[in-house]
C-alpha cells in the first residue's frame, strides 16, 4: 500500500499542461497601474495566426484545391448557393484558425490554445450573437418566428417556444464546449497513457520491451487526435454555417 501511494505521487497532474503562465509582463504605473502581460496562450495564438497568414501567403495550388474547395462546398451547401458566398471569408479564416491552433496543440510540449474554454466560448458566443443580430437586422421582429415550430397546436405553443428558445440559447455553450472538451479529453488521454508508458519503460530491462504495447497505443491515439483536430474544426465550421443559415432563412 505504501509503495502504491509513493508511485502515485510521482505522477504529475495531467492538468499541468493546460496551465497559463506569464512569459513577459509589463507593470507600469501609468494609467492606474496598467499591466500588459504576454502569457503562453497569447504567445501561441500569435504564433498560430502568423502561421495561418504565412500559409495563406504561400498558398499553392494544392492547398487551395483541398482546403479552399472543402470549405467552399460546406458554405455553399449549408447556407445558400448564391447568397452564402459572402460568408466564405469568415468561415474560411475561422476554420484555418481553429485547425492551426489544434495542430499546434498536437506538437509535443506545445500548448493547445483551443483547450481553453475562454477562447472557444468567446468564439462561439460571438458567432451565435452575430447570427442573432444578423437575423434581427434582416427580418426585424419576424425573426422570433424562429422559436415557433411550423404547424403546432396552440395549447402546446408556450412549452414549445420555451424549448426552442432554450435550445437556441444553449447553442452558445454547446458550440464552444464541444471543441474545448474534445481537445482537453484528447490531451489528458495522451498524457496519462504516455506517463504510464514512461513509468513502465524505466522500471526494468524486460519492462522496456513490454511497454512497446502501450507505446503503440500512444501512437495510435496520437493519430486519432490528429484526426479529431481536423474533424472538430470542420464540425465547428459546419455548425456555424447552419446557425447563420437559421438566422437568414428562419427554418
Amino acid at each position: 500500500m505504501v509503495s502504491l501511494s509513493n508511485s502515485l505521487s510521482f505522477i504529475s497532474s495531467p492538468l499541468d499542461q493546460f496551465e497559463i503562465r506569464t512569459l513577459l509582463s509589463l507593470d507600469a504605473p501609468i494609467l492606474a497601474n496598467m499591466e500588459i502581460t504576454v502569457t503562453n496562450i497569447g504567445f501561441y495564438l500569435i504564433v498560430g495566426v502568423s502561421i495561418a497568414f504565412i500559409l495563406n501567403g504561400l498558398a499553392t495550388n494544392y492547398y487551395q484545391i483541398t482546403i479552399y474547395a472543402t470549405i467552399h462546398s460546406i458554405v455553399v451547401n449549408q447556407i445558400n448557393r448564391t447568397k452564402g458566398q459572402i460568408y466564405f471569408p469568415f468561415i474560411f479564416s475561422l476554420f484555418i484558425f481553429i485547425l492551426v491552433n489544434n495542430l499546434i496543440g498536437m506538437i509535443p510540449y506545445g500548448f493547445a490554445s483551443t483547450s481553453h474554454f475562454v477562447l472557444t466560448f468567446s468564439i462561439s458566443f460571438t458567432i451565435v450573437l452575430g447570427a442573432t443580430i444578423l437575423g434581427l437586422q434582416k427580418h426585424g421582429l419576424e425573426f422570433f418566428s424562429l422559436f415557433v415550430p411550423a404547424g403546432c397546436p396552440l395549447a402546446l405553443l408556450p412549452l414549445l417556444v420555451l424549448v426552442e428558445f432554450l435550445s437556441y440559447v444553449s447553442r452558445n455553450v454547446s458550440l464552444g464546449l464541444r471543441l474545448a472538451a474534445n481537445i482537453v479529453a484528447g490531451h489528458l488521454l495522451l498524457h496519462i497513457l504516455s506517463s504510464l508508458t514512461y513509468n513502465i519503460m524505466t522500471s526494468g530491462f524486460i519492462f522496456f520491451f513490454m511497454a512497446l504495447l502501450p507505446l503503440s497505443f500512444v501512437i495510435a491515439f496520437s493519430g486519432l487526435e490528429l484526426a479529431i483536430a481536423f474533424i472538430q474544426s470542420q464540425v465547428f465550421v459546419v455548425l456555424t454555417c447552419s446557425y447563420i443559415k437559421d438566422a437568414l432563412e428562419l427554418h
Binding site: 500500500m1 502504491l4 501511494s5 464541444r178 474534445n182 470542420q234 464540425v235
Partner: protein, 60 residues
Amino acid sequence: MIQASKIIGTGLATTGLIGAGVGIGVVFGALILGVARNPSLRGQLFSYAILGFAFAEATG
C-alpha cells in the same frame, strides 16, 4: 483501503466511455448500411456521419 477505493473508483469512472463508443459504432454502422443501399449518396452521408461522430465523441 480508501486509497484502493479511490483507484477503483477512477477505473469505474472511465466506464462512461462505453456509451461514446457505442454511439460512434452506431454512427459508422449506419453509414455503411446507408452507402450499401444507395452508393450515390456517399459524399453527403459521409459528411453527416462525420457530424454525428463529432457529437458522439463530444460526450466521451
